[in-house]
Amino acid sequence: MSPDRDPSAPAIVSLSDEDLMAQVAEDDERAFTELVRRFQGRVINLVSRVLNDRECADDLAQEVFVRVFVHRRNYRRGSKFSTWLFTIAANLAKNEIRRRVRRRNWFSLDALQEMLKDSVIQLADPTESRESALEREQLQAAVGLAIATVPEKYRLALVLRDIEGLPYEEIALVLNIPGGTVRSRINRARSMLKRKLQPLLRKVVAP
């Protein structure tokens, strides 16, 4: 926060996430801004895929970073910043899912089945240029909805692994569960996703 910062200090963009977070703990706003810039895309993507709700994702992502800021003195140096950040994001997403379940404000499996039954979705063949934007959007909406109908504890693991690409060990830390449990949850989640998308997948298998 000092404008007359030491000119020999390393440029903020060259600092590691962990070094930036250490500066945030010292109330450095520029370091906080840089961390938000680095991670906002991943946080937004994570929460919007978990919730299947683009509108809410912005607010929830903001909430995640506010908590990073509020708890800046609780961050332990030596732990990976992104793991800490994803832990906060996963917990807030989990709470939001449970809140919606309580209010019965949630996606139903029926909606997904209707969507898959009625739509004219054709699986996108990467070599096929005739695929219309509309079809692509419908396909993506169906996949998003399929993920959203996977039960919460499997869904979080699935999105962290197969959309955000986190290693199993990091997912275990984020979800605070043993490594073996992470693997079995992801296996279950993948089978569920495959079953839900079956009507789409068959089309590609058929000649």
């Binding site: 926060m1 703990a25 109330d27 450095d28 706003e29 906080f32 801004t33 938000v36 906002q40 895309g41 937004i44 993507n45 919007s48 895929r49 912005d58 607010d59 903001q62 909430e63 970073f65 506010v66 908590r67 800021f69 509020v70 708890h71 800046r72 003195r73 609780n74 961050y75 332990r76 030596g78 732990s79 990976k80 793991t83 800490w84 832990t87 906060i88 917990n91 807030l92 709470n95 449970r98 809140r99 993506q140 996949v143 699935l158 197969d162 959309i163 830390l173 605070n176 992801i186 296996n187 993948r190 996703l193 495959k194 998308l197 079956q198 789409l200 997948l201 068959r202 590609v204 298998v205």
Partner: protein, 204 residues
Amino acid sequence: MNCTQARRLFGACWDDETTQVERELLESHFASCPRCRAAYDEFSRALELAASLPRVEPAPDLVERLLSRVRRLGPAPDHLPALRPVWLPVAAAAAVLVIVGILLAPWFGLRPAPPSGPSQLARQPVAQPVRVPTAAPQPAVAGAPAPRPGAGTEFVGIPDSLFDHSEDMEFILDPVTLHRGRASVARASLKQPGIQGEQAVITF
């Protein structure tokens, strides 16, 4: 390798975590079992579809909105003080006893307390938000508003919360040592006009 063994390897195969031997066994099983081959194709197609969803982009003004929000927050406490809801009923009961005592005092021939005493007590809300003294206030971030003169305390917590996390919130803020904390909720007095839900305060 039979079908069950083959299907058990689908995940590891997708994650590229199979050994050379496992991969060869799986390939030779696929060669003789079109159903497993097709099942693996469907499995990998489903995961490809999930992985190839377009990335959701943040709103362009997210950083600015966030900064203006955190600038309104007070300085960071070194450790968040624990708000223990178990004390709230006790404090409420004590306040009621004191007020009743003061009201009954004249009946027992006791001198009434000086006027400032009871009125101050009566003004005390039952559920006090957690406050910490900020004797030497240190602005949280550059441009953070200085504490009002005379205001010796700052709110601690997270204002403007759009989300109701009043239940089942469990934070693990330090993944290395796996510290656990359970959230408690400061009700009523922390509510801001127009904002639904309750404010969560994380304790450690």
